[in-house]
């Protein structure tokens, strides 16, 4: 193999592939929505609903189905806060950081949650894979602030004590499963 061939090999990227068990859900999402106008967001939602995130390997088949470039699809996935490119923890805690919740102590609630979960100010995932903490900007529950979503369930008028109880219930659930 000559020098030039080695050079080409070094710049040829590997297109990420899906895990075997991810193929069917992604194909199903594409098949269900590809005919709709503006199909990309519905497809990405269906993929994330099925897998908990949008794996990098999903980008190529979606791009092929919609006659788009992989760069375009990647650009959309990474633009929207809702789409995750990595699997979340077993429990997802989304704390509202917007103004109405701030006025009722959301900043304090977030630092309390971070202390309880052992997360630094910028970390999102606990080391044991049990919790993911994400910021959200307004859950539309601004009269009953502060608010959070725990595994998709909305809770209002949150206090550090009630958050502790919710997290403890999650941990019990984890122990039962173990």
């Amino acid at each position: 193999m000559g020098k030039r061939a080695r050079h080409i090999e070094s710049v040829t990227e590997v297109v990420p592939a899906l895990d075997l068990d991810q193929v069917a859900p992604v194909e199903a999402a594409i098949a269900r929505h590809r005919g709709r106008p503006g199909a990309l967001l519905p497809i990405l939602h269906a993929v994330q609903d099925a897998l908990g995130h949008v794996p990098e390997g999903a980008v190529a088949p979606i791009a092929a189905a919609l006659n788009m470039t992989r760069a375009d699809v990647h650009g959309v996935v990474s633009f929207y806060h809702h789409f995750r490119s990595a699997p979340p923890g077993r429990h997802v805690l989304q704390l509202c950081r917007a103004e109405a919740c701030q006025s009722m102590g959301a900043r304090e609630l977030e630092s309390h949650a971070r202390t309880r979960l052992g997360l630094s100010a910028t970390a999102h995932h606990t080391g044991d894979g049990q919790f993911t903490l994400e910021p959200v900007y307004c859950l539309g529950n601004c009269a009953l602030s502060p608010s959070l979503l725990l595994d998709g369930r909305l809770h209002g008028r949150m206090t550090p004590a009630r958050l502790d109880a919710l997290l403890a219930a999650c941990r019990d659930d984890v122990e039962r499963a173990a």
Binding site: G38, L41, D72, Y80, Q102, S103, C142, A143, S145, L154
Partner: protein, 516 residues
């Protein structure tokens, strides 16, 4: 004995404080006592601090009990609440409650009253009258009604709805679209959510009327992904409307067509900006478009598009049903009709208050809201979401109308009012405004994309460099204000500058080393 109807809100706010648990406890307790209860998951009446607010349909009308937790249920049955029995939680007729009595509900007339997804219940409470009248009118005449009502866009920009519709009506195209902006991302606002959960058919009817008016046969509701309850309510309501013949290729036997579907956003605040929303609906990144061309000429998929907010569309059925004059008679100056205001944040009685334009912040904050939740003095309120100005107590008597608010450097926006007590640090709030803009900027224009990040840094330097930063911050705000492509970068300076103007003491960090 026939079943007694019990209303337990399925509204997300009520659910967030235990409405689901209360509902199952009620059904469990009724079964255990051999009593027949018909459960209706209605919308919220808007007295959100009292949620879960449960109503029992007695022979003397609806009797409210609130707040009802699952622990209260056995005691309520003991008190004979199915016959309106007395109990410490009994509030009686909620429409006579001081919070509710003087409201003028147009968009929210049915919210909390009816079963949200029941097309017949909707009809029994005045629904479909607007659409039926619209079916009998020439399209131009429908547009004229909306113009005469002087309805202005309730999303925030307050653009006259009739002019927008007229433009789309006058444009010849093989396909036109109706798009509802339900990307209610402003903190402190939840009226779109409450309407979509409590009376989704009102939005369906308003959009169908818009379709008839401008000659559009396809509608999309762009809903933010943070609203799963509204997603379910809208999809059920739309399916029921199709089944009953109010949507589809033959609306109410007229031979006219209107199709409607809900599309989910994906957590991008910028998609509340109408052109970014259209990009997102087309399956792209939510990047703001240059205007012109206006969406009314080249909108969704390049076709003429009416794009309005949820509350704008929800005012339309009443305008068609009762005539433009009845709507126009409400309000003040150039702000006609009613506005659903939302009391949020640090407020004792948070909730939704629909009033004609012209009341004051003071009335809302103290008469309705009952002051702060913490019991401390109210120091600042932010009206109109994260791009709205922070107003001090001295401006609480400003009348709530678009022009009066613009005069004091504020904006009503979507009608959200977020209350802060005297523990608020206004420098932190100004910093947050810049931080939020940095997180949510689409990145297309430089003042917004880079200015917001520099804004955070400049504000952080108040602690070390003191008030000398003020010149720099004002200069930066000036650039963002005049150089940004859309309202995100262009209005982020409003909360920042208003904090600086009205609360300068919070920015004087050098002289108060303890605060830094």
């Amino acid at each position: 004995m026939s079943a007694v109807t019990v209303y337990v809100p399925g509204d997300a706010a009520a659910v967030s404080v235990g409405a689901d648990e209360a509902a199952s406890a009620i059904m469990r307790e009724a079964a255990a006592r051999g009593m027949e209860v018909r459960l209706v998951r209605n919308g919220s009446r808007g007295l959100l601090w009292l949620e879960p607010l449960v109503e029992v349909a007695t022979s003397d009308g609806r009797v409210a009990y609130a707040p009802v937790t699952s622990d209260d249920v056995a005691g309520l049955f003991d008190a004979g609440w199915l016959d309106g029995g007395d109990h410490p939680l009994r509030l009686g007729d909620i429409t006579q409650h001081p919070y509710f009595r003087d409201q003028q509900r147009v968009s929210f007339a049915r919210v909390g009253v009816i079963d949200p997804v029941d097309v017949d219940d909707y009809a029994a409470h005045g629904g479909w009258r607007g659409l039926q009248r619209a079916l009998a009118l020439e399209p131009a005449r429908i547009v004229q009604e909306v113009t005469d009502a002087r309805l202005r866009g309730r999303g925030g920009a307050a653009f006259p709805t009739g002019i927008k519709w007229q433009t789309v009506h006058d444009t010849i195209a093989p396909q036109k679209y109706i798009v509802c902006n339900a990307d209610e991302g402003d903190s402190g606002t939840f009226s779109d959510r409450m309407l979509m959960e409590g009376d989704p058919l009102c939005l369906v009817e308003g959009m169908a009327i818009a379709g008839l008016a401008v000659g559009a046969t396809q509608g999309y509701i762009y809903l933010r992904s943070e609203y799963p309850h509204a997603w379910r309510a809208l999809n059920t309501a739309i399916a029921n409307a199709y089944a009953a013949g109010w949507l589809g290729d033959d609306i109410a036997g007229s031979g006219r067509r209107f199709d409607l579907e809900v599309r989910l956003g994906a957590g991008a605040y910028i998609c509340g900006e109408e052109t970014a929303l259209l990009e997102s609906l087309e399956g792209k990144r939510g990047m703001v478009r240059f205007k012109p061309p206006l969406p009314a000429l080249k909108g969704l998929f390049g076709k003429p598009t009416v794009i309005n907010n949820v509350i704008t569309f929800s005012a339309v059925p009443a305008i068609l049903a009762d005539g433009a004059q009845a709507y126009h008679d409400r309000g003040t100056g150039r702000s006609r009709g009613t506005l659903p205001l939302q009391l949020a944040g640090n407020i004792a009685r948070g909730g939704l208050v629909e009033l004609p334009f012209g009341s004051t912040l003071r009335t809302l904050l103290y008469d309705y809201g009952g002051g702060s939740a913490s019991g401390r003095p109210i120091r600042a309120v932010q009206v109109g979401g994260p791009l709205g100005a922070y107003l001090p107590e001295s401006l609480f008597d400003t009348p709530l109308d678009y022009e009066a608010f613009a005069q004091v450097g504020g904006m009503i926006g979507h009608g959200g009012i977020v209350v802060f007590d005297d523990t608020v640090d206004m420098l932190q709030q100004a910093r947050y405004a810049m931080e939020f803009c940095a997180v949510e900027s689409c990145g297309k224009c430089t003042p917004c994309r880079i200015g917001s990040t520099r804004g955070v840094e400049v504000i952080d330097r108040f602690a070390t460099h003191g008030a000398a930063q003020e010149t720099l911050l004002r200069d930066l705000c000036d650039t963002m204000l005049h150089g940004s492509l859309c309202a995100l970068g262009g209005m982020t300076p409003f909360p920042v500058l208003s904090a600086l103007d009205h609360f300068p003491e919070d920015f004087d960090r050098i002289r108060q080393p303890s605060a830094a």
